[in-house]
Symmetry: C2
Subunit: 245 residues, 2 copies
């Protein structure tokens, strides 16, 4: 309301968590980009040129097997960032990053981030904590894949996607979900069909609509809640001070 409020509201939650001063220092380095469906932002083993702070849309982290089979190990939306490897001092990562839902982001040169990280201010703390949350997400996925059946896993995946989608409807084909979950397309059709019969979701030709979020969450495996809880913990006020507790 007062004239010094930041012109565009900050949609990315990590950037929004920064003190004004640090955000302003970053601002000259930030560049807006759009994220288009199926675009590859990082390729396994190649140098990381930029890190991304999504405003909206959804980024999939994939391990790609030697036979080119991809396997999703993590999801990033506006609650996070792509490029935690740079936070950890690396110049490459073995993980492919793919746009799963189009949107936009602000990005920044990896080198600029390295320089801004040096002082050890709030920026470093926020990004490190997010790195921990992402680590947790990947760990939980590792455990989940082997422990839970397809139906709860699909429900969980739809919940996570819905959390990052602009509304209750998004573009998503069975084929794509099958790739992400590492199962055959026909299995997705069967299981999604059952979720549709139970009126939790509806879909037609690549348009998925979430109809009953609470029953979908109840159908999802515990991993959904576990990851969310740890994300909340990693951003909690009680744990903001890195070195003084």
């Amino acid at each position: 309301m007062h004239r010094n409020s930041r012109p565009p509201p900050i949609q990315n939650q990590l950037l929004a968590a920064l003190p004004d001063k640090e955000y302003k220092r970053l601002l000259p380095h930030l560049e807006s980009v759009s994220l288009s469906f199926m675009e590859v932002l990082y390729e396994s083993g190649e140098p990381i040129t930029h890190i991304y702070f999504p405003n909206d849309g959804l980024i999939s982290l994939l391990i790609v097997m030697e036979d080119e089979t991809p396997r999703e190990v993590g999801l990033i939306g506006n609650e996070g960032m792509l490029g935690t490897a740079v936070v950890l001092g690396m110049k490459t990562t073995p993980i492919r990053a793919l746009i799963q839902m189009p949107g936009s982001a602000v990005r920044m040169k990896a080198q600029a981030l390295r320089e801004e990280l040096k002082p050890g201010g709030r920026l470093q703390s926020v990004l490190q904590r997010y790195t921990h949350a992402l680590f947790t997400q990947v760990s939980q996925s590792a455990a989940c894949t082997g422990s839970h059946e397809l139906k709860p896993r699909l429900a969980r995946w739809l919940m996570m996607t819905h959390d990052r989608a602009p509304g209750d409807e998004f573009v998503m084909k069975h084929e794509f979900m099958a790739m992400m979950l590492g199962v055959t397309r026909s299995m997705v059709t069967r299981v999604a069909g059952s979720l549709q019969n139970e009126k939790m979701i509806r879909y037609t030709r690549g348009q998925v609509t979430i109809l009953d979020r609470s029953r979908l969450e109840a159908t999802a495996c515990e991993c959904y809640g576990a990851v969310k809880a740890e994300y909340a913990r990693s951003t909690a006020k009680s744990s903001i001070n890195t070195a003084s507790g």
Copy 2:
């Protein structure tokens, strides 16, 4: 050979990678402890009091489901450390840490690490890079569990354990392997039996011997090599300088 050489050789590879000066600064904080089989070093959600640098032995990282079923998501030996969450500014982690093979470690108070990390010297760089390597390991496990059959996964797991074992022989029961791999004990017996028939391993009542490492590696899935390669990359000289490249 000269009189100022460090008295005990440093067995942990992360500590060994530190410049003399930084290691000496750490030394007063370091305390030797033994790691006994099945000991729990971290419990999910509880405060982290110490971080551990193993000299030998093997630590399992576990996600524990609500029904108490554990699931291994990572392995730590003398190439690494337990407590990467602290490196990332957290005070707790949702992961349980369990001693899978007895040994010894040096440990250090979490708070002491927080203070030593501040300057942004080599210590920080080394530990952050290791955190990245562990992240990779967990990611690869996530992909592996869903993609590969039990035999290659068991072979991979035996390889990783062997890498961290003092010799070709170690204590390991089918029951325990089953828990780590998230399968039934009888499945381990069947698959391990087949590895034994093919003379890659031998075992009797909880003693496993690796007989033919190269054929075992060939039997293991690609994930073994992928994790090892990324670990090598994360410790490579070419990427030691964090902020100057």
